[in-house]
Symmetry: C2
C-alpha cells in the first residue's frame, strides 16, 4: 500500500527549490525554501514548515476512451529536462461534495473540459493527481506538475483556462507552489 502514499514536505531540504508560493483562493501555505517528496505518510518534522499527505488512487471521472487518449501521449515524471515543477493543493466546497457522481462529471468534463484541457498540454506538462480528502487533510487534492523551462508560459495558460471554468467555482482554497529542480 505504501507505494501509493506520498508526503509533500515544505522545509529546508529536498530536490526542489521553491521559487514562489501564491494563494489563489483562501490562505497560502507557510514559507519554505524547499520541497521534499517522500513515499509513505509521515508527520512533519519539527524543522519543516508543512507536510501534505496524498494517495494515488483510481480515476474518479475518466472514461476508458479518455484514459487511452491520455495514456497515448503522456510521458512519465522525472524527465531530465523537466526542471520546473508546481504543486497545487486544492480544496473544493461542501456544495461540490454534495453533488451526485453524474453531476460532478458533467461539470468537470462536459461543461468545464477539465480532462480535455489537460490533454492539450501533454506531453510537455506532465502531471500526477494525489487524493487527500478522505485522509482528513486540509486539501482535497494535490496536483503535481513537471515541465521544461520553455513550457512555463504554456503551464500558465493551462492554469488560467482551468481557473476560468465552472468547476473552479467550487474551489474554496487553492495555493500555487512553483519550484525549480535543485539537484
Amino acid at each position: 500500500m505504501s507505494d501509493r502514499q506520498f508526503t509533500f514536505i515544505g522545509g529546508h531540504q529536498g530536490a526542489w527549490a521553491i521559487t514562489g508560493v501564491k494563494p489563489i483562493v483562501g490562505v497560502a501555505l507557510p514559507l519554505a525554501s524547499h520541497l521534499d517528496i517522500v513515499t509513505g505518510h509521515t508527520a512533519a518534522a519539527p524543522e519543516s514548515a508543512w507536510a501534505l499527505r496524498g494517495v494515488t488512487s483510481s480515476e474518479r471521472y475518466v472514461t476508458r476512451a479518455e484514459k487511452e487518449s491520455l495514456a497515448a501521449v503522456q510521458e512519465p515524471l522525472g524527465r531530465p529536462g523537466s526542471t520546473r515543477g508546481a504543486l497545487i493543493p486544492i480544496r473544493k466546497s461542501p456544495a461540490w461534495w454534495a453533488l451526485a457522481q453524474d453531476e460532478r462529471r458533467a461539470i468537470l468534463e462536459e461543461r468545464s473540459r477539465h480532462i480535455t484541457i489537460g490533454l492539450a498540454y501533454l506531453p510537455p506538462v506532465a502531471r500526477k493527481l494525489y487524493h487527500a480528502r478522505d485522509l482528513g487533510e486540509p486539501f482535497d487534492f494535490l496536483t503535481w506538475f513537471e515541465f521544461a523551462p520553455e513550457y512555463a508560459g504554456a503551464f500558465d495558460d493551462l492554469l488560467a483556462k482551468l481557473r476560468a471554468t465552472e468547476e473552479w467555482q467550487y474551489v474554496e482554497r487553492e495555493v500555487e507552489v512553483r519550484m525549480e529542480r535543485s539537484r
Copy 2:
C-alpha cells in the same frame, strides 16, 4: 473531518454481540465476541482482535436520480427495532481498480444492478458505506447493515443477489460478520 472517520473494533466490548463470522472469499477475521464502533481513527487496543478503519465520503457511482430515489425511502441507522447488524468488509481486485470510471459504473449498476438491488430492500435493511482503500487498509470497503429480526431472511436474499452479480467477480476478499445488539 473526524465526523467522517470511524473505526470498527472487534474485541471484548461494544454495543453489538458478534453471532457469526463467515469468510465468503479469502480468509476470515480473527474471532471476537463484540463489535465496538467508535468515531475517529484509532489503533486496535492490545486486548482487541482487530480494528478496521473507514471514512464516509462522496458517492462514487450514484446519479442524482438514484440519490433521490434512495433518499426518499431510506431510514436512519439506530432504529430501536434494528437489533440485528452486519459488517461486511470487502476488497476488490487490481483488475477492478484498473478499470475506468465508466467501465466500473457499467458493471456496478447497468449490468449488476447493485444500486437497484439495495433500493429494493429499503427501508427495512438500512446500510452505510465506509471507504477504506485509500487509507491503506486491508479492505477497500466496509458496509454496515441494520435491520429488525424479521428481515433477516430478506437480508440473506439481498446478499445472495449481490454475490451472484458480475461485479462480485471482482471481489477477492469478503467477510460476513453478523451480530445482535447487546445493549
